[in-house]
């Protein structure tokens, strides 16, 4: 009833052609890897994409048979790339031209608690622990940190249940992402980490107090701040810097002026 010429006139890829294409693909892979050794700057990306596209075209034309197929399948397949490019171009049309008012990375400009950071520190070297700081730290810890880190600092606070990843357990030595030195804890308090908010709105003295208090909760005595650590945290170890430590923070008025004349 139905005529029997179903698939005969369909093109069949000859074994030799298949081998040739296979060889070409291998060679091009070697070329890609070889070219990647040299640092041609942005050209690296262009060359890599070019070679990859040549390989992709070879696979499409011969292995997938677009060369011998109806043109409509080629049109269909190339439409997908056109719409992918539309997606990229118009999305980057926005991302690239956001201008200065939308400052991408907030850490460059001091967060909103800047006013507090201006206040002069009461201590000569706030980054060195002293009993008064410890007491102040304990009181602050009860007020601010208990919710997540728990009364004893074991990371089992009431709100910890809903957090992913779980709050840091201060009573144990491992698992600390930014390290257990006072300056490291101070940095975490300033910038925040994962789902922990930044406490930059607290004055530096409070943050140092908390850092020292947290270190008393577990076996962290051995981790001492070297001069180099302090410099990395933006503190002048010679003691002249006073309390306004933290990475290069610029006062808020300067920050806002900086932004306004750019927009």
């Amino acid at each position: 009833m139905s005529e029997h010429h179903s698939n005969e006139q369909h093109h069949i890829l000859s074994n030799s052609m298949a081998a040739k294409i296979f060889g070409a693909l291998l060679v091009l892979t070697v070329v890609t890897v070889w070219v990647a050794q040299f640092d041609l700057g942005s050209l690296n990306f262009a060359v890599a994409m070019l070679v990859a596209s040549v390989k992709a075209t070879l696979v499409c034309l011969f292995f997938m048979g677009l060369k011998y197929d109806h043109k409509e399948n080629t049109v269909i397949f190339s439409t997908s790339f056109i719409f992918m490019i539309i997606f990229m171009i118009l999305t980057f049309g926005d991302l690239l031209t956001r201008g200065d008012v939308y400052v991408k990375d907030m850490s460059k400009i001091i967060p909103d608690g800047a006013v507090a950071a201006q206040t002069k520190s009461k201590y000569e070297k706030a980054w060195v622990s002293n009993p008064e700081l410890l007491a102040h730290g304990k009181e602050l810890f009860a007020a601010q940190c208990v919710t997540c880190h728990g009364a004893g600092g074991a990371g089992n606070g009431v709100a910890a249940a809903g957090l992913n990843p779980k709050p840091r357990n201060f009573t144990v030595a491992d698992g600390w992402k930014n390290g257990r030195k006072a300056s490291a804890i101070y940095g975490t308090l300033t910038k925040g980490l994962n789902s922990m908010p930044a406490f930059a709105s607290l004055p530096p003295d409070d943050r140092w107090a908390l850092s020292h208090y947290v270190r008393t909760l577990g076996p962290h005595e051995s981790e001492k701040d070297s001069a180099e650590d302090l410099k990395k945290a933006g503190i002048d170890a010679s003691g002249a810097g006073g309390g306004s430590a933290g990475e290069k923070q610029i006062p808020i008025d300067v920050a806002i002026d900086l932004m306004s004349e750019k927009s």
């Binding site: 139905s2 698939n7 069949i12 890897v33 890599a48 499409c60």
Partner: protein
Amino acid sequence: MAQGTGSVSHLDRHHAHHFKSGHEEFEACKQGMWIFLVTEVLFFSGMFVAYAVLRVFYPDMMHDVHHHKLLDWRMGALNTVVLITSSWTMARAVSSSQRGEQKNTVGFLWATLLLAGVFLVVKYFEYSHKIHEHILPGAQYAYEGLTTAKVPIFMSVYFVMTGIHGLHVVIGMGVIYYLIRRAKRNEFGPRYFTPVEMTGLYWHFVDLVWIYLFPLLYLVG
């Protein structure tokens, strides 16, 4: 795709009732497959846009990742060779089924399946190394060695892209194994090889995606 009701030798194979001829049915299946590949391209396009955002806005981070050898390009290169070879064996399997050489078809399909297995094994080693080193996506990233900003997000893009690509490889292996069982029952021949051709197209597409993934993730610093 076409009616696979029980094992029917390719000699007395009939096309579906609503098509005029077997050839028209084959052309319809192929066009359907190409449209499916269009949806796959656009599915991966989302990840390529996320990758492009990182490359355009954080080139120094990309340089650090490359410089710091977070991704072992040798493993990537090996996987590329493995996948290209599997693409070749798949192409040979398709042409053998078109010529009705049943033994070759089964042989090359097995080769493709094994190569896909090798790809996944190499992938397993890469992933287990990263999990061990805590080089994990986004919030889980806890690798001491490299702390430049946005590296965790690059790792997220890496894991999402290679993970979804790996998933496609696993699905491909399942379909190829199903083909092997049907090829053993001599169901494919010059007048009916649609499933093999369609799986071939899918497999070449999976290789195509890896051809782009490899340089973007592993090589370009």
